[in-house]
């Protein structure tokens, strides 16, 4: 299946992916207006240190520890994509305890949040990939 892959050699550390991610979950048309004066809570996060930077988001694991460990059944994997039913999530953070990539995070409203490959917001074309100015984040099928 197609996944988000990251090549740290090309990452500029510009954080645009984070802004595009945050923008994707708003219903606004204009990014600047949508994100003006707010603290964003993106599901993709840049790690950076000493000139190295790269983006981290859900790997949509074949053997997802977050899904297996979810105490409510709110995290599920369908057609290879792991999604969260925010209505059922009670914010126990067992998935944060479980994810080996640190790709699940608390959200503002108590439920957890994670990358869902924009299937709920942008028709399944990840906005972080579209917004990356240097091709450091790609959405493609690789040999599995």
């Amino acid at each position: 299946m197609k996944r988000v892959y990251v090549n740290e050699k090309w990452c500029l550390g510009c954080h645009l992916c984070e802004y595009y991610c945050a923008f994707a979950s708003t219903n606004e048309k204009d990014m600047a207006r949508a994100l003006k004066d707010i603290r964003i809570h993106p599901r993709i996060r840049i790690e950076e240190k000493d000139g190295i930077s790269f983006a981290v988001s859900c790997r949509h694991c074949d053997e997802p520890l977050c899904v297996k460990g979810c105490i409510t059944g709110a995290l599920t994997r369908k057609d290879g994509i792991i999604t969260i039913d925010r209505n059922r999530c009670i914010g126990c953070y067992t998935c944060i305890l479980s994810c080996p990539f640190g790709a699940v995070s608390p959200s503002e409203d108590g439920a957890i949040q994670k990358c869902e490959l924009c299937i709920k917001t942008a028709g399944g074309t990840p906005k972080c990939v579209e917004g990356c100015p240097n091709g450091a984040i790609v959405f493609e099928e690789r040999g599995e």
Partner: protein
Amino acid sequence: MKYVIIGNSAAAVGAVEAIRKNDREGRIVIISNESYHTYSRPLISYLLLGKTDENKMKYRSDSFYSENGCELMLNKTAVRIDPDKKTVLLDDGQNVSYDRLLIATGSSPFVPPVKGLEKVKNKFTFTTLDDAKRLESVLEENTKVLIVGAGLIGLKCAEGISRKKVETVCIDLSTRVLSSILDEEGSEIIKRHLENNNISFFLNHQIIELSENTAILDDNTEIPFDVLVMAVGVRPNISLLKDIGGKTNRGIVIDERCRTSIPDIYAAGDCCECIDVSSGEMRVMALLPNAYMQGECAGMNMSGADYVFDKAIPMNAIGLFGKHIITAGTYAGDVYYEADQENYKKLFYSNNKLNGYILIGNIEKAGIYTSLIRERTPLDTLDFDLICKVPGLMAFSKEERACKLGGIA
């Protein structure tokens, strides 16, 4: 092939989902002594808190059993296994035959003998949906609730019932709260936090006598109460296997394929004990993720695959009145320590391995530490100083990152 599963919670669901990956045809029979669709037991406190409801508590969708071709036998208790005839006797006299059997019977609350306990009318345990409903039905504003046990069950109960504006007192024989998952300093932080949320504690005490509405402690303190909740702990339900000579200790002893000592009988979940890879010792690790993964492992092997689950560790994610705690592993070895007003972090390591950790407050990316414990990652393969401060993939080698993020093997 006919699969019989005794139990209807996380381990049972894990087994069903695994069996159906390998075998769409075989019969699956689930025997439960409760009357409910599979539900998440840890959610009972969230039910009282009003953060979930009975429908949302369902651990799987309404169509789970039909989609997976399961025959559900509710309100039936398995009484005895006959391993020669390969049958399970139920309390209504029926015999259910099996080719492969999974014991996923969970655990039961342990209620210690206390003088006068029989005089208490409003007494409860707190592990099932029925427990939660019965408890909720007697609570009113200002009801005095005495919880015996300041562990995970007792404290989640205290949080759950707080919505009813009750007066809660919690007592424990231990000198500290959450003594099974926290160290002393962590316990103190959480105790203060709970006290700020109107929970009172009598620690390092036990009840020597009860009357209908009063508990007398070992120092003769008298605590009046309307409702008593016994949350001292749970014991694995092992009797089905023990009665037929299967290997048990505190829990049913299983191997890394979730097999018991008796052929064609598997066990998974809170009724079991297995190797804790963070310490190398056999342990009961009664927690939902392990239950699911053991059930899954059992189901895979029951349906013909060769599948190993050898990465069980103790681990807990728990929130109490808005404060989050994540812990995992064994608290042994050298210590990395960091704390401020809001946050507390301790990492325990020795022999080039991370053994355990405690995070209170900031729990972000905790799973990166969990994976170091679970995978027994040699710490000299990463930037340990960095990862102590900031859990992240930055601490791994460039090659390791390319593999994790770039899909490059």
